[in-house]
C-alpha cells in the first residue's frame, strides 16, 4: 500500500520533471525555429516546479534524505543515538504538520479571494491544496519513521 503510493509519487515526480524540461526546450526551440515562444512558459515553469517540490517531499522524507548533521554519531552510545533519532523524527513530523496547517490557511485564503495565475488563470488555491496534502503525508511518514529511527 505505502510502497505502491510512493512509487506512484515517484512516477508523478518524474512526469513533472520531464514536463519542466519540455517547457523550457519547447520555449527556446519554438522561439528560434518557429519564432513563437510558448505562451505562459514562465508561469508553467513556476507551477510545475511547485508541484514537483510537493510531489517529491514525501519521497525525500521516506528515503530519509533530508540533510542532517551526524556529528555526535561517533561519540554517543547506540541507545542515545536511537533516542535522538526518535526525537528528530517527532520534531520533523511536527514541523511538517505545522506546514500543512498553515498551507491550509493559505489555500482557504486563495480560494476566498479567487487568486489565479496571471497568464493561464490557474487557481492558486489548488496548488496550496496540493501542498497541504504533501506536507500532511510527509508528516505521517516522518512520524512512522520514529518507530524505526
Amino acid at each position: 500500500m505505502t510502497r505502491a503510493f510512493l512509487s506512484a509519487l515517484r512516477g508523478l515526480s518524474a512526469l513533472l520533471l520531464a514536463a519542466l524540461i519540455l517547457v523550457t526546450v519547447t520555449d527556446v526551440v519554438g522561439r528560434y525555429i518557429l519564432n513563437a515562444p510558448l505562451p505562459g512558459a514562465f508561469e508553467l515553469t513556476q507551477i510545475l516546479l511547485a508541484l514537483l517540490v510537493f510531489a517529491a517531499l514525501p519521497l525525500t522524507t521516506a528515503r530519509r534524505e533530508h540533510v542532517e548533521v551526524d556529528l555526535m554519531a561517533h561519540v554517543l552510545t547506540p541507545r542515545l543515538i536511537r533516542a535522538f533519532g526518535i526525537f528528530a523524527a517527532l520534531v520533523t513530523a511536527a514541523a511538517l504538520a505545522f506546514f500543512a496547517v498553515r498551507l491550509g490557511i493559505v489555500a482557504g485564503d486563495q480560494a476566498a479571494t479567487g487568486a489565479r495565475s496571471a497568464a493561464l488563470g490557474l487557481p492558486m488555491a489548488a496548488i496550496a491544496g496540493v501542498g497541504v496534502a504533501s506536507c500532511a503525508v510527509s508528516a505521517a511518514i516522518a512520524l512512522a519513521g520514529a518507530r524505526n529511527p
Binding site: F42, E43, G114, A115, A118, A119, G121
Partner: protein, 315 residues
C-alpha cells in the same frame, strides 16, 4: 512604539529613498518620537505577499501593487490602471486616493488593514525595438511584455501578443529577441537598463496604462496607537503621501526621460489612428470592468470623476 516596515523595492529605488523613508522619518517627528518606523533592509516575503503580510501582522506596514496577484480583492483599484488617466503622478495619486475611497470602497477592499496611502506611478509608455508604430496593424503579432491585467487585455485587443515575466528578466528577453517591446514607465525603462535595446517609445496622452499601489498598516497595530498620534500620522499620509510619492515618481520620470532622449530613442506621441484604436479598445475594457463591480458602485462615473480631477478629461 516601533513599527516595522517591510520594503521589497531595491533600497536605492527612488520611491524608497524619496517617499517611503522620508515618510517613515516624519512619522517619528510628528508623534514626537512616540511612534517610530524601522524600514527593513530585506523584505519578509515576496512582493506579492506584502498586503497579506500587513493584514496578518508579519510586518506592521507594507506597500505593494494591487495587480501583483490576479484575484477579486482589489476590483475597484483597476480604476487607476486604465489608459488616458493623466501624465502627472502626483495628480493621479491624489485623484486615486480620493475617488477609490469615495466611490469604489477602497477601505472595504483593504479590510484587515489601515489604509495609509494609495498611489500611482507616472504614465506608462509602449516601447519597442522593431519599428515606429504608425498604424494599428504594426502591432499585429508584436510580442510585448505587460505587467498583467488591463495592459495585457489592451495589447491582446490591439492584436499584439502579451507576455508575462518579472521585470528584471525584461532586459535579457529583449536583448535575446524573445520579446519585441515592453509596456513600462520612463523610469522603469532606465532602471532596468533598456536604453540600448529600445529604439521607439510611444506615448499616449495620460498614459497607455498605469499601476496602482497601496501603503497599509496592520489594523491591530493601528488601533493600539493613541488617537492623537493616529491623527498626526493621518495628516502626513493619505493625500499628503500621494503628493509626496507622486513627486518622487515625477522626478524619477523626468530624469529618465532626459536619459532616454540622450540615448537617441525616438520618443513620439501615438499617431491619431493608433490613439483612436486604443481609445476604442480602452472604453470596451472600461465598460467590461464596470460591469464586474457591485451594483452600488458606478465604475464609469468614478473614471469620469478621476479624469476631471487630473485634467485628463479635457484632452
Amino acid at each position: 512604539e516601533e513599527l516595522v516596515l517591510s520594503s521589497w523595492l531595491p533600497p536605492r529605488h527612488p520611491i524608497v529613498v524619496n517617499a517611503i523613508e522620508p515618510w517613515a522619518d516624519e512619522v517619528e517627528k510628528v508623534t514626537d518620537g512616540r511612534v517610530t518606523v524601522r524600514v527593513l533592509r530585506k523584505p519578509l516575503g515576496s512582493p506579492a505577499a506584502h498586503f497579506d503580510m500587513a493584514r496578518d501582522g508579519v510586518a506592521d506596514i507594507t506597500y505593494g501593487l494591487h495587480s501583483f496577484t490576479e484575484d477579486d480583492r482589489f476590483k475597484g483599484a483597476e480604476l487607476g490602471q486604465f489608459s488616458f488617466l493623466g501624465d502627472d503622478a502626483a495628480a493621479n495619486s491624489g485623484a486615486f486616493w480620493s475617488v477609490y475611497r469615495d466611490k469604489l470602497g477602497a477601505e472595504q477592499e483593504h479590510a484587515g488593514t489601515k489604509l495609509l496611502g494609495l498611489f500611482m506611478h507616472g504614465p506608462g509608455l509602449l516601447h519597442n525595438n522593431k519599428m515606429e508604430i504608425t498604424q494599428v496593424s504594426d502591432l499585429q503579432g508584436m510580442k510585448i511584455r505587460v505587467p498583467g491585467g488591463y495592459a495585457a487585455d489592451l495589447m491582446a485587443g490591439l492584436g499584439a501578443t502579451p507576455l508575462f515575466m518579472s521585470s528584471p528578466e525584461v532586459y535579457e528577453k529583449l536583448s535575446r529577441g524573445v520579446i519585441d517591446g515592453v509596456a513600462f514607465t520612463y523610469e522603469a525603462l532606465t532602471a532596468f537598463r533598456l536604453t540600448d535595446d529600445i529604439k521607439y517609445s510611444m506615448t499616449v496622452p495620460g498614459g497607455i496604462y498605469n499601476t496602482t499601489w497601496f501603503l497599509v498598516m496592520n489594523q491591530g497595530k493601528w488601533d493600539g496607537i493613541s488617537a492623537e498620534d493616529q491623527a498626526a500620522i493621518e495628516a502626513i499620509s493619505g493625500e499628503a503621501f500621494a503628493a509626496r510619492v507622486g513627486k518622487a515618481w515625477n522626478d524619477a520620470d523626468a530624469a529618465a526621460e532626459a536619459e532616454i532622449e540622450k540615448a537617441g530613442i525616438l520618443l513620439y506621441p501615438a499617431p491619431a489612428p493608433v490613439e483612436e484604436a486604443i481609445r476604442m479598445q480602452a472604453s470596451k475594457l472600461e465598460a467590461a470592468w464596470a460591469d464586474t463591480l457591485d451594483d452600488d458602485r458606478d465604475g464609469l462615473a468614478a473614471l469620469a470623476t478621476f479624469r476631471e480631477m487630473t485634467g485628463a478629461a479635457a484632452e
